[in-house]
Symmetry: C2
Subunit: 330 residues, 2 copies
């Protein structure tokens, strides 16, 4: 069996199985957006790491070095947001082709450091080496007060499923870029995903928010992570997926379904969360009043294990999978 | 200007210049073996990250997956040892060609996790993605009591320069592997470098040990890091370089100089340190009594900025550089 056959999530599960050590008290490892380690004053550190590889996650034709610098930090900041944390320190490992120009590197650094500064995140170290393909690994350290940590595993049957932003815009932006459309409002969502750090911190302080994660692989795939970790099923109402006017318009033009992008395309980096339904009305009003943007209601967590989708009142069978780096080529 | 012309250390300095934020109290960033961040009970966390790239740091012909798993963690453990710390948590990012076999991955994991277990280090997370070339980034978190942190910047003129192990064996092992010699005692030093964690922790508790780091790029290159950070010069006695019997024998056979490997080849991962000369006799005796292995004396830190080498009582001009990933091909 090769990696291609097993796929990315299979590999992560395989690694988890090999990590049989019993973790010390207060330490949480593989399986959520960040690892958790004890810190002082009833706080924990959150640690996450993400790798972006040229021609897998991006091509140099479709993203500027400035945007790539932004995005390579943003995808990690999103993991900190997903657990409700505040970022602190970043580590950057760059594997670069020797012919990379210094202008390119300076612009990459500018994009990275500008976003770091905006989020009071200090670059404390890293590594640089040559390589054939550009590969970027960022490790990010954040902190959170222990009572506020939000995990994938805390959803309960009956919880409402919500997300904080439009779905599918980033995937549609990538689709446009790969079809040589360089000027379209959707592209911004792909190259400079909006972050939800303040929103994550606010939501983390609400006891009625049970599970939380960020949407990186597409909601159809990511919701399954919450289901699996929480031992729940879910019903998703396709008609309620938050789809931007831009995506609707683009889908119309290409005779495609905007829902396909929204369900499967990934890289939206908004937050996916489950909320005690009794508190949903109060919480969504307070959220909207505070952030001037809605908390979109998508469905309900259920007993059982299945993900059932409804569209126009009918059950829909969901065949496609979210993005898996070993199985799908861009 | 391209990266190749600038070289790895130039790139790191360029990054340092862009990081103009003032770091919070107790936080230390780029410039030493690990970053330092405040932890509880007058301790700090040490964080380091290292990337190994196929065909730059290793080839799949010359290292088994078991040894590569060991080595990719070992090079990071060595950075923790270099500041006197104790390892705690590891994060592993693997970029793998899709045709990688699961057998290969399982053996890689075995080598990694076995060394982690021996050093009470927990694998808490990471990322997996596909790539054309195998690229491994490990981030390691350790801890240390604040009074014991050893830095590159604390050497003083007059200090004796010492190291904890033979120099050049790893480079000679690589040379043999690249010349298709697969069975030679020197190869072990390259594929499974010995670690000096206990030694580093012991040395860190000695106030007469001033500066410390690990030798990853070759002593000629690494000593310059201590010189620069400590604003000192250094005199190195080439006749005193600790050279193993195996390396001497191999150098004889190939009519080469063992000192060339010892000075420049890198990847020895023993500790390089400077010691108050008044305490050297006591400290080296105590070290040898405790670890049953000598602390090798190599030279003296000096006023000024120059690295001066002596061989057979004569000054030697040092032209070659240590290993720089952007400038030298293996």
């Amino acid at each position: 069996m090769t990696l291609q056959e097993l796929g990315e999530f299979g590999l992560i599960e395989r690694l988890m199985l090999s990590v049989t050590h019993l973790l010390p008290a207060g330490v949480e490892g593989i399986g959520d957006d960040c690892a958790v380690i004890p810190y002082f004053n009833d706080h924990s550190l959150l640690i996450t790491t993400d790798t972006l590889v040229e021609n897998v996650h991006f091509t140099l034709d479709t993203i500027t070095p400035l945007d790539l610098g932004y995005k390579s930090l943003a995808v990690n900041l999103s993991d900190i947001a997903a657990m409700g944390g505040e970022p602190l320190y970043a580590f950057l490992s760059l594997s670069l082709p020797p012919e990379t120009s210094l202008k390119w590197i300076d612009q990459y650094n500018q994009g990275f450091l500008q976003l770091a500064k905006e989020n009071r995140t200090f670059l404390l170290g890293g590594d640089t080496t040559r390589a054939k393909e550009l590969t970027i690994t960022v490790t990010l350290v954040g902190q959170i007060a222990n009572p506020y940590i939000k995990r994938r595993s805390q959803a309960k049957p009956g919880d409402f499923i919500c997300c904080t932003g439009f779905l599918g815009d980033s995937g549609a932006g990538l689709h446009l870029l790969l079809h040589h459309e360089m000027n379209h409002p959707l592209i911004e969502a792909h190259v400079r995903p909006r972050l939800y750090l303040k929103e994550g911190q606010w939501l983390a302080q609400q006891t009625s928010v049970h599970a939380m994660m960020d949407i990186s692989d597409g909601i159809a795939s990511d919701l399954k992570h919450i289901m699996k970790a929480s031992h729940c099923g879910a019903e998703l109402n396709i008609n309620q997926l938050p789809i931007s006017a831009d995506l609707k318009q683009m889908a119309l033009k290409m005779n495609g379904l905007a829902e396909d992008f929204a369900l499967h395309a990934g890289e939206d980096y908004c937050l996916l969360l489950t909320i005690d339904k009794e508190d949903y009305a109060r919480l969504s009003q307070a959220y909207e009043a505070h952030f001037k943007t809605p908390l979109f209601l998508l469905g309900t967590m259920t007993e059982g294990q299945k993900l059932i989708c409804f569209k126009d009142g009918k059950k829909l069978s969901l065949t496609k999978q979210g993005f898996d780096h070993f199985k799908i080529l861009i």
